[in-house]
Each structure stands twice: as structure tokens, then as C-alpha cells.
């Protein structure tokens, strides 16, 4: 019972790391970026290449995955995404889904279509028994990292100068610019941060979720559910939504294996009927 809860929390946390970048771009920058999963995949492949070809330790691969995808995100923001901030949502969707297909084809071409495997360091394999609850070590590791990230992100957005500049830039770019805030730089940094987090999620998840060129499409629907259910007003919304969905998904598959795959969608529909703007919505804007 508690093991299921634990697995659910780990899965939810991982979903959150993967999706929170999307909730930043979608919620704060108001840009529909369906290519978000492609960044997560990139992070996963960075890890696979570094670990399997160059034998670098898993722990170093995590920051590397973050940095590389953040850099890729920043480059794409400057060259491509920036032009579409003012475009309609349909244009943004078409553009980013195009990027997804390009990413899939590229991954297939360079890495091949098969599942990629990584071997976690020995101390992350196996499981512990704590008070009679079986706990997978790698999952515990995921939970710890994600918990730290959630706190750090929340503080960064609400308490730091960068956070308030970002919120100002999003709420009214012109006024923010007038006050001397460099809106373009802020957007590049935010986008890079979101992409980097996705990359980190992809690296962390490579062992648990698997990694193949179809990753961006396979998980797109999960990202969208997390962001929709969580609402886009803050980091807490998607966080709670991811936890809820993770636990519901794992528990549903455990207790009702026949219907397991549907539970996550049922939860989404239920939440959206009760709160059409998500669990935590930003009232009275737009």
C-alpha cells in the first residue's frame, strides 16, 4: 500500500520536472510549446551518450543534461521561438509540433529507433526496506532531487529579483521595458531554464520511463494533462497536479489493472469539469 504511494509520488515528481518547463513557457510566457518533450528527449540522449560512450558518472550527466538542453533551448529561443511570441496560438502549435517531428526523425537517424538503456550506479539500484515499506533507491533519488528543485523554483519565482522581473515582463512587456528591464534577456533565460529542466527530467527518467525517438509524442499528452489540471498560475499548481496524477496512475494500474491506463484521463476530466481553469487558476486575467 505505502509502496504504491511511494511509487506514485516518485512518478508524479518525475512528471513534474518534465512538465514544469512547459508550465513556465505556457503559463508565464503564454507560448504553446508542444516541442517541450523534445528537450526532455535531448536530455535523455545526452545522458545515454555521455554514460555509454564516454563512461562518465551518472551524477555528472545530470547537470550536463541540464546545461546542454538549456543551451539548445536558448539558441532555439533566439533563432526561432522569439519570432512567434506574438503569433496566434495555432501558429505556435503548428510550429512546435513540426519541431517535434524533426526531433523524432533526427533522434531516429543519429541514435537508431531502439530503446536506449543506461546502467545506474550500484548505489541507486535495488531497494531499501524502511519500516516495512519497500523503497526503490533510484526512485528515492528522483524524489529528493525533485523536492529540492520545487522549493528552489518556488523561491526563485517569488522571492528573487529575477522572479519579479520575469512576472513583470510577462504581465506587461512594454511597461517592463520602460522601467529598464531587459525583457528579451529575461525570456531567453526563462526559456533556457524551462528547457534545461525538461532535459534534467529526461535524464532522470531514462531509467524509469525508457528512452526512444518517440519519447516527445509518448509523453506530450502527460505534460499537457499536468499543465491543464494544474493551471498555469504558479509552480504549485502543476506540482500538485503531477503528484495527484502520478499517484492516481500508479494506484489505478495496481488496483484495477484492466482499467489502469484510463484512470489518469478520468481524473483529468473530473478536475476539468469541477474547475475548468485547472486546480489553481489565475482569476480575472485576459
Amino acid at each position: 500500500m505505502l509502496t504504491i504511494l511511494f511509487d506514485g509520488v516518485a512518478y508524479g515528481m518525475l512528471l513534474f520536472i518534465l512538465a514544469c518547463g512547459l508550465s513556465i513557457t505556457l503559463g508565464l510566457m503564454n507560448f504553446v510549446n508542444l516541442a517541450h518533450g523534445a528537450f526532455a528527449m535531448a536530455g535523455g540522449y545526452v545522458t545515454v551518450i555521455l554514460m555509454n560512450r564516454y563512461g562518465i558518472s551518472f551524477y555528472w550527466c545530470l547537470p550536463a543534461a541540464f546545461l546542454v538542453t538549456a543551451l539548445v533551448g536558448a539558441i532555439l529561443e533566439v533563432t526561432l521561438y522569439r519570432r512567434l511570441y506574438r503569433a496566434s496560438h495555432l501558429d505556435q502549435v503548428l510550429f512546435s509540433i513540426g519541431l517535434v517531428f524533426m526531433a523524432i526523425a533526427a533522434a531516429d537517424y543519429f541514435m537508431g529507433g531502439q530503446q536506449q538503456l543506461i546502467n545506474l550506479p550500484a548505489e541507486l539500484r535495488g531497494r531499501l526496506d524502511l519500516f516495512g515499506i519497500g523503497i526503490g533507491r533510484s526512485r528515492l533519488f528522483v524524489i529528493l532531487i525533485c523536492a529540492v528543485l520545487v522549493v528552489a523554483l518556488q523561491l526563485a519565482l517569488t522571492r528573487t529579483r529575477f522572479g519579479s522581473q520575469l512576472r513583470a515582463a510577462v504581465d506587461d512587456g512594454r511597461v517592463a521595458r520602460g522601467l529598464g528591464i531587459n525583457v528579451s534577456t529575461i525570456f531567453v533565460l526563462t526559456f533556457a531554464l524551462g528547457s534545461g529542466l525538461a532535459g534534467l527530467g529526461g535524464a532522470l527518467g531514462a531509467d524509469m520511463l525508457g528512452l526512444d525517438p518517440n519519447f516527445p509524442l509518448k509523453f506530450l499528452i502527460y505534460f499537457m494533462i499536468v499543465v491543464t489540471v494544474g493551471g498555469t498560475s504558479s509552480i504549485t499548481g502543476p506540482f500538485i497536479a503531477a503528484l495527484l496524477l502520478g499517484i492516481a496512475d500508479v494506484a489505478g494500474k495496481y488496483y484495477l489493472p484492466q482499467a489502469g491506463a484510463f484512470i489518469i484521463y478520468a481524473v483529468m476530466i473530473l478536475v476539468l469539469i469541477l474547475r475548468p481553469n485547472g486546480l489553481f487558476s489565475r482569476e480575472g486575467r485576459r
Binding site: D108, G113, L117, G126, S138
Partner: protein, 389 residues
Amino acid sequence: MITRRHLIASAAAIAMLSAAAPSMAADTVKIGLILPMTGPFASTGRQVEAGVRAYMALNGDTAGGKKVEIVLRDDAGTADQTRRIAQELIVNDKVSMLMGFGLTPLAMAVAPVISQAKVPAIITSATTSAIMSKSDYFARTSMAGPQSAVPVATWAAKNGLKRVVTLVTDYGPGHDIEKGFTDEFKKDGGEIVEAVRVPLQNPDFAPFLQRVRDAKPDAVFVFVPAGVGSLFMKQFVDRGLADAGIKLIATGDVTDDDLLGAIGDPALGVITGHFYSAAHDSPENKAFVKQVKDTAKIRPNFMAVGGFDAMHLAYAALAKTNGDTDGTKLITAMKGAEWTSPRGPISIDPATRDIVQDIYIRKVEKKDGELYNIEFDTFKKIHDPFVAK
């Protein structure tokens, strides 16, 4: 005005006319090989192609007095592509035989085409029982339905495994294998504690494995598609099922020769039933493995041997018809063919055109520093369990 479309249409019409004429006495026989060379099932395509090329390298390129030529096309694993390519190959390239088909739906899609054109098609990979009844021009050299699952059930019952949980992926072959195993295991006096089905698009095995663990069976019988097998194996070990005394038994897809190295040590000791292991001890297999390793730089798996034997069947049929490429004569010539393949002795059942072969029970062990499926028990001449009875 003549547009490009008109040109293509008239070219197709001319091609159809000439195809309808009695088959020409050309000196070359073309075989259309349709495989997923890109996309998620690319490893299947790569392996089958390696098997086909290995056969031609070892046995030359003439059969029944004619030169054999392979036309390889990629269907990327999508059924409508497979069908379109099959039509093009038959109408434009005038192939005498088709070969390949990575997945069940891909084989199903060409059934009406080959029935109408009377062109034999040899299935190198797809395994579902239902395919063979769709056209009288199918022959198969991969595996017939749950052929590999039934001996595993017999073996498990004989070796003191009484309570078993089955865990299969929720799609056609998974259902076949689940039923094949369950029927046989119950007949032998075993008990199926629970039957778990995992969705095809499943990111995480955690809840399903926990369910298996909590059911406390003697063993869990597993079938998952080859690529996912490695992910499954890891989570199986991480969750401590092996430590809890639950044995893992499976069909050979889980410990695919191609992936065994990447799965690594967690696979040690896993018991599987399958028709081919790269470690099979015979001169035919040694030559085959060496050829594939030298030219394609991969270790052949059961897909590769499917391609190898498909070529043998094609050569044998051509030899029997003395190079006559009439489709009906060719498929008749294939019926009842019998030979020693790298996997061991096999034959084509004259009634079903499906493969009859030995199934080996193997255990993953380390040999010369690499992991292999080492065969230790043999079940002779297994037919498709759904059709034979």
C-alpha cells in the same frame, strides 16, 4: 495537357497489362523484401536483412538455375505503406516472391494483395496465429503463434513451479501467448494466480510489478515486445522480485540476443523458451553467426534467423520448380519443405504453410565474457498450438 499524374497512371496501366501476360522467362528472379528499416522497429529490419544477406553470402545467388536478386524496401512499420510497397513491387518490379513483414498488422495488410496477384510471401518476423488463414500464399519462417510459450508452461509445471502470474503486453501476440501458456499450464496442473496485462504504451512497470510481488507466486511468466524487455528486466531486479524468490520465466523475446549485452547482469539466470539462440551448438549456426558478425557487425537474433530461413525456403522452392516463377507452383513447392536451419531442424507444415520447429528451454549465462541464452532442454517438433488441435 499531359500532367505527371497522367503519366504515372498510364505507366501503371501498362505495367498491369504486362504483368497479366504469362510470366516471362527471364533469367533473374526478383524477391521483394519489405522491412521496417526506420522507425521504432528498425532493429527488426536490420536483423532480418542481415540474415537474408548472410544466406546469399554463404549459398551464392543462384537457385533453380536463375539469378536471385533482392529488392529491399522500407515500410517504417506502418501497414498502409507495406501494402502500397507490396503492390508496387508486384506490379512495377515484377517480383516473384515477397518476404519480410516485421509486425502482424503489416503482414495482414498485404494478404489481399498477394491472394489476388498469386504471389507467395514468406513471413520472417510477425508471429500471430491468425495471419496464416488470411491468404493461401503466406508461408512462415519465424514462429507460429504461441509456439514458444507452450513448452515453457510444460517445463515450469515439471520443475515444481505451481503458482504463476502471467504478465503480457496488451496486444495481439500478447493475448496469443497468454492463452497458449495458460491453457497448457492449467492442463499440467498448475495454477494461474493472476493474469496481468500491461498497456502497449506503458511508461512505467512499477505498479504491475508490485502487483506481481504482492501475489507471491512461484514464478512470473512474461511476454513483452523485444525493445521493452530490457526496461522490464531492470525494474524486475530493482523491485527485488528475484530476492523475494519469484522466478522469471519468459519467451525468448525478453532476452533477445541483440539486447542481452545492453541488459547486462540483471538478466543472469532468467529462463526462457524460444526457437533460436546465437549460442546454439551446431556447425550451421556457427557459420551463420560468423557470417552475420563479419558483415553486419551485429550478433544475430531470432529475427535474423527468420530472414536466413526465408531465403532458404525461397531457394528450395525455386530449385524444386526448376526456376519456374509461377506463384502457385512456388507456394506448392514450399509446402512440406524440410531442412536444418541454424536454429535446428525445421519444416513447413503442408497443411498450414506454417513453421514446425523445436523449442529450446534456455538459461542466461556468461560465456567468454558475454551473456548468452544457453539451451538445456528441447521440445521436439512443436506446431502452432492453436491450429494443431
